[in-house]
């Protein structure tokens, strides 16, 4: 290996003046055996196609079991990579060999497009899925008033623009096959009879595959799981194969990228490829920009890209990952383009071999036949992937937008019953037709052009869709006439400035009109129109065609008053994100019969499918069965949308109009319907808000109800305890009439005590209820707090003395008068003080009562030197029936004292809390503002305030 490498590099260094040697002979001289047997190559190709079948079959089977394999973002991204065709696989290397970095704009453009995918592509997907749009022609037709004319025109442009591209794929496979199987050095035998031409059979095999996985059944969403899985698989194959060749060239033939580039830089021609500025010629930035823009548009508007990205999309969210994985794939498949191109140029000598086939010829010349075969299979997968998807997309268009409109005019057709079989037959015929057209083109013009130019011509054709498509998505003013005029002008200029010259240059049309202009008129030379000479032919064509296209689209749209249907469709497309299914306006007025619509649906989708659709619709609308559906505008729209999925929106419109009696809508009707829909939307929004408010209110009620229940159970529990002991003691006394008088007296004492406790409890519950409901009576007057506190101190003095505790009062001489109910305040003070008395220690108890006069109000503190309240219970003690202490060690009391105190203080606009930071004992603090609430609040307001606290 090493010695051979050295040998040919030695030849390179000394013998670069030998490029005129045919590549075959130099290579043959280097290696003995440099061909593969045709049987091996054919066998491998066949095996690969079979594998593709298996993958597609498996995916279809899985999807029928409901375990779809294509429902994830990675498969979605890989299916997008159908963008990389044989043109990428072989042509990029060819382009790099002649122009250095010039293969890149074709992939930088899509990367830029993908940056905007989340915005633009997502809208396209939403529109297509909402209105059951199945092709790019249908998209345009539907947007511009369901115009069959526009759909037909778009289809025609697509077919004319895409056939050369399909031919290009066939050419790549065919020349790859020839390269592998022709003995190197032997003279090319030339092409044999057509029935011996393998390319024809490749085309037919692909037609078969496409028919099986593209048109197995008629589906109103036009999704093809098996096909998508196969395409994703092909994307993996071509990437792996290309990278394998790249790695082989870089590390197998050379000593790594450093070595490869160092050798390339040593050759002046190759050095010029890598740093164009050094070449002395100006880098054509205008063309670079044009190519970037062109590929940016193509990656969205090529029929196969639209098919996999928009139609086959399963979930909009997949776009998030696919939008960066797809560009990353493009980057990965391009990393080795330059190394392979430079490697080929160094290995064979510049101009010695066709650079388009370096991917095959390099491994072959180095004697790695296996790798060459893998490389060929990679190229085959790139070509077949493109052909399959393109054929499905184009056949849908041809069927729905060219053949159907014509069929609908025939009387015999309208008398036919179920036409689903006919529809499938038309699609299959269209697939075969498109592939045979491609084969024919390949036969007639295939030899004339390098791969890259053919691809770019197709790109330029589909770029003509961009103004009307993007305009239609974002500009409500875009009109049918404008779209038609723009498309026609753009297409005409594309034919004149790009297509005709390419035919002329291919040599089978002897003419000098490219060089001298038609009839010798210099100004009309197709590649220098109006004397514009400073642009290359592609940029030139793109400039004129898009200028005319955009110009006419905008101008005609502005000049014409739009029709009602165009306006209604424009609204539905542009505002697709603004409306939900239910609030979307239905632009239809008239009368229909359910039976007619059902029969119509059955004709195009099959009886069973139609019956199921109607049953589902009935269920969704709350009707008992299909016959009881109300035949309103929404049903008509539903049927039309379902039909659109099968036969295109323009044809669906015609068919629906034929079975219903409809009123013609004018502009005012459209605006009125829109207005109604907007009102409906406003109503539904208001309804939603009201529902939310109700739900919140209900939740609050429920929680209040729960609180009430808790309260009730606490009260009954508190009542039962004293009642039980009263009853027990009373029974004892009844049962034992001879009870000693002393004991009887003791029991009666307990009964009296318990009764008092009961009375207190009932009073407090009533008190609490009164305060909470706002029905309590407040007798407000000017209160002297100092006097009040002194009075309270005197009242509890005896109680404290019994417990052996002392009361310490710290009162200022005087404080301002406060407006409040003195009895209620006294109630608060007594409660706090007696509470404190309960918790002081038996020895050395001490209760402090303090009053401070602040700027805002008066603060009263009651502190004891007991054990204090555990931190965990700070929040609880102000709740009803939550006393300090655990269940076994509850002090005497009802558990309502503190809650009532707090209610009273809060009634006067104050706050009550347990001071958290005292070193020892509990310290209750309440503040009362000087200007407390002027007068008792009305009951309602008080209740609301209580509710808020709850």
């Amino acid at each position: 290996m090493g010695s051979r490498k050295l040998a040919f590099i030695g030849r390179e260094a000394g013998g670069r003046h030998l490029p005129e040697l045919p590549f075959g002979r130099t290579a043959a001289a280097r290696r003995g055996l440099t061909m593969l047997s045709p049987a091996l190559v054919l066998g491998a190709s066949l095996a690969y196609l079979l594998l593709l079948f298996v993958v597609a079959w498996w995916a279809d089977a899985r999807s029928q079991q409901g375990r779809s394999v294509i429902g994830n973002a990675w498969v979605y991204a890989l299916s997008m990579a159908v963008y990389c065709t044989a043109w990428t696989y072989f042509g990029s290397v060819g382009r790099a060999a002649s122009g250095g970095v010039w293969f890149l704009p074709i992939y930088l453009g899509p990367t830029l497009a993908m940056v905007l995918a989340w915005t633009v592509l997502r809208k396209m997907i939403r529109i297509a899925h909402t209105y059951r749009i199945t092709s790019i022609a249908d998209f345009m037709a539907s947007r511009y008033g369901k115009s069959p004319l526009l759909a037909g025109l778009v289809t025609l442009i697509t077919v004319v623009g895409i056939v050369p591209y399909i031919a290009l794929q066939l050419k790549a496979v065919s020349s790859g096959y020839a390269l592998l199987t022709t003995p190197l050095g032997a003279p090319s035998t030339g092409r044999g009879s057509w029935w011996l031409d393998g390319t024809l059979y490749v085309a037919l095999a692909l037609a078969g595959f496409t028919m099986i996985f593209g048109t197995r059944h008629l589906d109103s969403t036009e999704r093809h799981e098996g096909m998508v899985a196969a395409i994703a698989f092909e994307s993996v194959v071509k990437l792996v194969a290309f990278v394998a060749v790249g790695v082989f060239v870089t590390w197998g033939l050379f000593g790594g990228p450093g070595d490869l580039f160092a050798r390339a830089m040593a050759v002046p021609e190759l050095k010029a490829l890598l740093s164009p500025a050094q070449q002395g010629t100006r880098f054509a930035y205008a063309q670079w920009f044009a190519l970037t823009m062109l590929s940016m548009l193509s990656v969205i508007f090529l029929p196969r890209q639209f098919q996999v990205m928009v139609i086959e999309n399963v979930d909009e969210q997949h776009l998030k990952r696919a939008a960066w994985v797809f560009p990353a794939y493009l980057l990965a498949i391009n990393v080795f383009v330059l190394p392979i191109a430079l490697g080929g140029l160094l290995y064979f000598g510049a101009g010695a071999a066709n650079a388009d086939t370096f991917v095959l010829s390099l491994p072959l010349a180095a004697g790695h036949n296996g790798l060459a075969l893998v490389a060929f299979v990679g190229g085959l997968s790139a070509a077949t992937g493109m052909i399959i998807v393109e054929a499905i997309a184009v056949s849908t268009m041809v069927c729905n937008d060219l053949v159907m409109p014509m069929l609908l005019r025939l009387r015999r057709f309208s008398q036919r019953g179920d036409v689903t079989g006919l529809l499938l037959a038309i699609r299959r015929a269209a697939i075969v037709g498109v592939l045979l057209l491609g084969y024919l083109y390949f036969h007639l013009a295939g030899e004339a052009y390098a791969l890259v130019s053919i691809g770019l011509i197709s790109f330029a054709a589909v770029a003509q869709f961009a103004p009307a498509m993007l305009g239609g998505m974002y500009w409500k003013g875009g009109a049918r006439a404008g779209a038609l005029a723009g498309l026609l002008a753009g297409f005409a200029l594309w034919v004149y400035t790009l297509m005709l010259p390419s035919i002329a240059k291919s040599g089978w049309w002897q003419t000098d009109f490219v060089a001298r202009g038609p009839f010798g008129i210099e100004l009309l030379r197709p590649e220098q129109l109006l004397g514009l000479t400073s642009l290359d032919y592609l940029t030139h064509s793109l400039f004129w065609s898009l200028l005319a296209n955009v110009g006419l689209y905008v101008m005609v749209s502005l000049l014409r008053t739009p029709k009602a249907r165009e306006t209604s469709q424009a609204l539905l497309f542009v505002d697709v994100f603004d409306r939900t299914q239910a609030s979307r306006p239905v632009f239809w007025r008239g009368r229909a019969k359910v039976g007619d619509l059902l029969a119509l649906t059955g004709r195009f989708l099959g009886e069973a499918r139609a019956a199921k659709l109607f049953d589902d619709y009935a269920r969704a609308r709350g009707a008992p069965d299909a016959s009881r559906i109300e035949p309103d505008a929404r049903l008509v729209q539903f049927v039309e949308t379902e039909l659109a999925g099968a036969i295109g929106s323009a044809s669906a419109r015609v068919m629906v109009a034929s079975v219903v009696e409809e009123d013609k809508l004018d502009m005012d009707d459209v605006l009125r319907i829109l207005d109604e829909a907007s009102q409906l939307r406003a109503y539904s929004k208001a309804l939603e808000n009201a529902t939310a408010e109700l739900r919140a209110a209900n939740q609050r009620l429920e929680s209040l109800d729960r609180l009430k229940d808790d309260f009730m159970s606490s009260v009954t529990h508190e009542l039962r305890t004293p009642l039980t002991s009263i009853r027990a003691l009373a029974e004892l006394m009844v049962d034992d009439p001879d009870m000693p008088a002393g004991q009887r007296q003791q029991f009666l004492g307990i009964v009296v005590g318990e009764t008092e406790r009961l009375t207190r409890l009932v009073n407090q519950v009533l008190d609490m209820a009164k305060i909470e409901s706002g029905h309590a009576e407040w007798h407000n007057s000017e209160v002297d707090l100092v006097a009040l506190l002194k009075q309270a101190g005197e009242t509890v003095h005896e109680l404290l003395r019994e417990r052996g505790a002392e009361l310490v009062m710290q009162l200022p001489a005087r404080v301002p008068m406060l407006r409040a109910d003195p009895d209620r305040l006294m109630q608060v003070l007594m409660n706090l003080l007696s509470n404190a008395a309960k918790f002081v220690p038996a020895q050395g108890g001490r209760v402090e009562l303090r009053l401070y006069a602040g700027a805002e109000g008066a603060t009263v503190e009651v502190q004891d030197n007991g054990d204090g309240v555990p931190a965990a219970q700070h929040a609880l003690i102000f709740e009803k029936f939550r006393q300090g202490g655990d269940a076994w060690n509850r002090p005497q009391g009802t558990g309502l004292g503190l809650p009532i105190c707090r209610q009273i203080v809060e009634h006067f606009g104050g706050r009550m809390e347990l001071r958290p930071d005292t070193g020892q004992g509990a310290c209750f603090v309440f503040t009362l503002p000087w200007n407390s609430r002027p007068e008792p609040a009305p009951p309602g307001a008080s209740m609301a305030a209580d509710g808020d606290r709850a």
Binding site: V115, T119, S275, A277, F289
Partner: protein, 65 residues
Amino acid sequence: MRSGLLRQRLLGLFALGLLLFNFPLMAVWDRDVLLFGLPLFPSALFFAWALLIAALAWLLERAPD
């Protein structure tokens, strides 16, 4: 609001890409220099490309559903 922000960020990224891949920023890299044995001009283009993809991935992957 947040989805609106994502859209603006993507638009900004698009503008950045357009600038990086075109004249005159591209001309800055068009030099006869080797960087780690690789020619600067293509390497810079690939590097800018990778950077753009990384930024796009970062923006989209952290966007909420």
